[in-house]
Amino acid sequence: MIEIRHVSKTYPKAAEKALDDVSLTIPTGEFFGLLGPNGAGKTTLIGILSTLLLPTEGEILIDGQVLTRKRGDLKRKLALITQHNSLRNDMNLDEIMELQGRLYAMDREEIRSRSQELLAFGGLAEHRKKTVRMLSGGMKRKLMLCRALLTKPEILYLDEPTTGLDPASRRQIWDLLRGLNRDGLTILLTTHYIDEAQSLCRNVALMNKGRIARLSTPQELIRELGEVAVDAFRDGRTESAYFPDREAALRYTAGLTGNFSVRTTTLEDVFLAVAGRGLEAK
C-alpha cells in the first residue's frame, strides 16, 4: 500500500508550490491514474514516490514504513518508468538489463533468464545486441518497461508511458499493463491520454495546481459531471453542458439555436472541467 501524507514540494526560486498538501492512499493491487494539465504536479509526485525527489514537507509510506533514499528494502519494491528516455545510450539491451539486475543484487543466472523472458515478451529479443541509440522510440519505451519488470517490483510507477508511441504500440503496452495488474502488480500511472486512464484505471485523481481536485472512479467522476454532454457551437467556440440523462439533454437542446451535438460524457470532459475551473480561479 502507498500512503502519501501531507506532501508538499516547493522548487528553489519557484513562486508557487509544485505540490500543496497532497494526501492519498493507494491500496495494494490498484491500477491508479493521476491526471492533470501540464504543471499540475503529477511528475513531481511520481518523483517523490520513487525517491528521485525529496518532499519539502510530508512523507511517503510503503506498506506502513517511511520511504527514504536509504531504505533499500522499500526501494526494492518499486520500479519507475520515467516520462523521458532514461537508458544508457551506448549499452546494448542485454547490458541494460544486466545493469538493472546488478543494481538490485540479482544473481547472474536469474538476470539472464528473466531478461530473455522479458525481452521476448516485449518483442525485443532479436535486438538484444543493438545499442540503445539504434532503437526506435517505441522500442525504447518497451525496453524501459522490460527493465522495470526485471526486478519483480510490487509497485510500478509509470510517468506518461505511451507518449510518442503509435496507436498499435500504445494498445500493446495497455495489454501488458492490464495483465501485470491482474497478476497483482500495483500500478500508478500519469498520462495525458485521458482514454488511456479511462480504459486502464480503476480509480483516478485529477490534479490541478499541485492539489488533488477530484478522486474517484472514472465512472463516478463522469456521473458527477453528467453522463450526457451537449456541445453547442457559438461564435467559433464549443460550449459544453452536462446532464444526468439523455432526456434532460434533449430538453436543453430544444432551446438551442445553431449547431450542436449530443454525446456520452468522457473522462476528458471531467478533466477539462477541472482544469478549466482551475484556470478560471487563477
Binding site: S50, G72, R76, L80, R88, L99, L103, A105
Partner: protein, 254 residues
C-alpha cells in the same frame, strides 16, 4: 535477503562492471586520448626545454615523468567519472535509476572512485611505457602504484562531486578549469616547489596533487613516500567520498 555488507560490495562490483562495459566500448579512444598531452609534455619539456637542464642533480626528464604520471592519473580519473556521470545525470537521465535502486549510495560512489582510479592507473601505466624511449630512469615499487591508486581515488571522488553539483554540461569543464588545470601546472609537476615564493608554496602544499607528485618522485628516485603525503591523499579521497554522499542523499532535487 542480502545483508548491508553484501549490498555494499555488490554495489561496488556493479559500478566496476559498468565502467568495464564503458571501457570495452571506447578503449581505443580512451587509450589514444590519454597519450596525447603527456607525449606533448615529454617532447616539449623533456626533450625540448628541459634537455639541457637538470633538477636536484638529476636529468630533468627524471623529474618530469613522475609529475606527468601524477597529473595523468589525476586527469584520467577525473574524466572517467565526472564527464560520464554528468551526462548520465543531466542528458541520459540514467542516473535516476541509480538513485531509486536499492544499491547503497556510498557503494555507488566508492565504485565510481575505484573505477576512476583504475582508469587513471591504466593511463599511468601507458605513460610509464611511453617514458622509456625518453630515457627516464625510475625505481618502481608497490608504494608507487599505491600512490597512483590514492591519487585516482581522490580525483575520481572529486569527479563524482563535480558531476552532482553541476547544473549543466559546461559546469564540468568550468570545474576542471578552476581545479584540475591549476594543479596540472603548479603542484610539483613541472618544476620544484622551492622555486616559487614561500606563501605560494604553502598554498600549493595544501593541494592533493602536490602530495601525489612528491610521493611518486620520491619513490622514483629510489626513496620512500612520506606517510604525510599518503595520509593527505587518503584524507582527500575520504572527504570527497563523504561530501558526494551527503550531497546525493540529502539534495532534494537531483
Amino acid at each position: 535477503m542480502h545483508t548491508k555488507t553484501d549490498m555494499f560490495f555488490r554495489g561496488i562490483g556493479t559500478v566496476l562492471w559498468e565502467k568495464w562495459v564503458d571501457f570495452k566500448f571506447e578503449w581505443k579512444k580512451i587509450t589514444a586520448s590519454a597519450l596525447v598531452s603527456p607525449l606533448l609534455y615529454m617532447i616539449a619539456l623533456g626533450w625540448g626545454l628541459g634537455s639541457a637542464s637538470s633538477v636536484t642533480d638529476r636529468p630533468y626528464i627524471d623529474f618530469l615523468v613522475p609529475g606527468i604520471l601524477a597529473l595523468t592519473t589525476m586527469n584520467a580519473s577525473f574524466a572517467a567519472v565526472g564527464q560520464p556521470l554528468n551526462v548520465q545525470r543531466l542528458f541520459e537521465h540514467s542516473f535516476d535509476h541509480i538513485i531509486i535502486s536499492p544499491t547503497p549510495m556510498p557503494a555507488y560512489i566508492v565504485g565510481q572512485m575505484l573505477g576512476g582510479a583504475l582508469r587513471g592507473m591504466y593511463c599511468g601505466l601507458l605513460i610509464l611505457l611511453l617514458s622509456l624511449p625518453f630515457g627516464a630512469t625510475m625505481h618502481l615499487s608497490p608504494g608507487f602504484f599505491l600512490v597512483m591508486l590514492l591519487n585516482g581515488l581522490t580525483f575520481g571522488g572529486l569527479g563524482v562531486l563535480a558531476a552532482i553539483l553541476a547544473t549543466n554540461h559546461a559546469d564540468i569543464t568550468r570545474f576542471s578549469t578552476y581545479t584540475i588545470l591549476p594543479m596540472t601546472f603548479l603542484c610539483n609537476t613541472f618544476f620544484p616547489l622551492d622555486r616559487v615564493p614561500k606563501w605560494i608554496q604553502v598554498l600549493i602544499s595544501i593541494l592533493p596533487l602536490t602530495h601525489a607528485s612528491g610521493s611518486l618522485r620520491a619513490i622514483a628516485y629510489g626513496g620512500r613516500a612520506s606517510w604525510l603525503n599518503i595520509a593527505v591523499l587518503a584524507a582527500y579521497a575520504a572527504a570527497s567520498m563523504l561530501a558526494a554522499n551527503v550531497v546525493i542523499v540529502r539534495r532534494k532535487n537531483l
